[in-house]
Symmetry: C2
Subunit: 440 residues, 2 copies
Amino acid sequence: MDKKITILGAGLVGSLLSIFLSKRGYQVNTYESRPDPRKADLSAGRSINLALSHRGLKGLHAVGLANEVKERCIPMPGRMIHDLAGDLNFQPYGKEGQYINSVSRSGLNELLLDKAEEAGAKIYFDYKCIEVDYQLTQSRFLHDGQELTISADFIFGADGAFSAMRNAFMRTDRFNYQQHYITAGYKELHIPPTDSGEFAIDPNALHIWPRGKFMLIALPNLDKSFTVTLFLPFEGEKSFEKLQDENSVRQFFQEEFADAVPLMPDLLHDFFTNPTSSLVTVRCYPWVKENCALIGDAAHAIVPFYGQGMNAGFEDCFVLDQLLEQHGELNQDLLARYQELRKPDGEAIADLALYNFIEMRDKVADPQFILQKKIEKRLNELYPDQWLPLYPMVTFSDLRYSEALAIGRKQQSIMDKVLADPEVESRWENLDFASIVAQL
Amino acid sequence: MDKKITILGAGLVGSLLSIFLSKRGYQVNTYESRPDPRKADLSAGRSINLALSHRGLKGLHAVGLANEVKERCIPMPGRMIHDLAGDLNFQPYGKEGQYINSVSRSGLNELLLDKAEEAGAKIYFDYKCIEVDYQLTQSRFLHDGQELTISADFIFGADGAFSAMRNAFMRTDRFNYQQHYITAGYKELHIPPTDSGEFAIDPNALHIWPRGKFMLIALPNLDKSFTVTLFLPFEGEKSFEKLQDENSVRQFFQEEFADAVPLMPDLLHDFFTNPTSSLVTVRCYPWVKENCALIGDAAHAIVPFYGQGMNAGFEDCFVLDQLLEQHGELNQDLLARYQELRKPDGEAIADLALYNFIEMRDKVADPQFILQKKIEKRLNELYPDQWLPLYPMVTFSDLRYSEALAIGRKQQSIMDKVLADPEVESRWENLDFASIVAQL
């Protein structure tokens, strides 16, 4: 098998896909618009750390990398909710022993690049894709001031939310496309290690300061710092547009996140140095045209609130590899099957991610929500095969996102009825759990 | 007032807007990518005739053109439904004396161009807009192989579903955008006048051959021909992809539209000569950036099934002119107000137009639907100020599209309850109409 594959993008998904396809014997050439991150500091811009969970690990496991990656991870078995008074409340994500992993984007990307090259992929940096001709299976690049045209048997667009391949698809008839920005943006901040070189707060949690329409979160890094992100509307009463000077920023943080302020000595510097970035959901169809296919964010860029962007992209690669395992060769039928399998799941995780912003910024502080979590935990203990709450379904299971979403909606409508009982809070431990489960 | 305005597009909306703004004393320069239709035959491509109704006429009336245009119209007071057996059923659109108008796109456009020039607008043809800089209020054109940059105080993008101004907006952060193609496409066909030079079928109706998932329609032309349009899925059991040879086309038409076949002597020629075109809905936001604004299809391209595309665009122009009447000068506040007023209505008419495909191709042949129309007609006769059915609200009233849609949804949920009565068909004339209206 000597088929030649062009992969656009050597980010997380492009590198993992390069490994999968090289291991299947394809001749893989991967083109990345940025410089080699192993040689240049590219920390600016993208979120520094990510939450790696089951679906992502499944993809890494399939190429033999799960253990190596896990060594670089910090487990986060739950959310640590910080209320206005600074009081803490820990909400586990799943059962004992289940956790999501804080991992460095650049560290993971560099490892995947090394492994892709070891597997035989050739990776070209500073190649900016300016055009894809899906009919000729050709991509055109700008490199060192020169234009180059590269032909291949297949092209994968793993080139992210602003994909060049998708732009080419956009100019074809009957291409459905949607880009939708939420009204909130984000800004990265930083909690350094303490003077004694320790984590300033509990490293084994994803910290959330939920404040209704906005929130602050913090994820631990291996260097004992935390990456902090403020999610806040661009406009409105409490918004980025209202935070234009040091006084208003200081006052806002003091009022809303008082316990976090002493942890961020560089708050004002970071706030005015780091960019305010927008958050987009991209949906499109088809993902495949002839021998060209979109994958990862290029096919389904989502907001970060379920921690599933990378995981969904890695699962795309895993599903494609499983199809190769079952059917042998890469061809248009196989790409059509990939699209058919993954499109509904891309839609579902986009919806779930949007929903989870509301959960994180608002609901986690709501007593009704906390009670629901308790009841669902009990349901899961009593009927582990029948009732798995939505978060663990999405995060710790192999269930398709689209199925998880459908089951989650059904569960929510059942729970809405359970919680409508005005006395549920006092008598929840004596609910007729069997009849609740039976409604599913 | 010597403010300079660039209008992109001299189609129906661009020409009408040129008239409105010239009459307000602005210095209007309008750039059109195609040649002057008054000098070249451009009949290929766009639909030959359109349904002009109240909102469009309101815009034409405001510039003193309603009567002149009405002389070129053929009134269509209702739908003429052709069933499989060729039996006819006439369904009025509104009350006695209410009708929509079949009008020639090119004839109307040419009249508007003449009037725009009379009003003082300069219209430049064969100027293809390749870039809009909304910050500099500049547009760049390709004309005669040369690039030209034109500065202005304001730019309006009246350049249709594939707007160059919208493309420029697309490259800015936080621009929400959606393009969605329905699964059906369309092809234009033709019913010529009879040998004796008469209309082959009743000219005072919009003819529909509703067949569930697809349909044929026919609108009269002044030359006593009809423009016929087949709306059919691209793929599937009965679809364009199944109609690849003369035999299958002949057989399909014979089975589905037997009474229309003898009226179309050039059916096979037309079918294989005319293109199969797609149908897109475009939604976007914002419509306005600094001194640049989208209008008409550029802001809200819709499917043609409510006959409202041109009418909605003309109403955009009318609303903008009303704002100028109220507030005096064109400025960013006024453009923001225009956007705020029209965006919800653009969304609403997009939804209504999508819905009406189902009504036209399917429901008009459904006895339940026909019964509902009868009951609603009676409700309207008894309570003319309280119950106006959806179609006349959209087509014959000044009510905002968004309000019409909201009221229409409420009416439908009331009618669903009324029609749920298994004996409604026999006893509908004795319904408690007062209590039905009271539910609104």
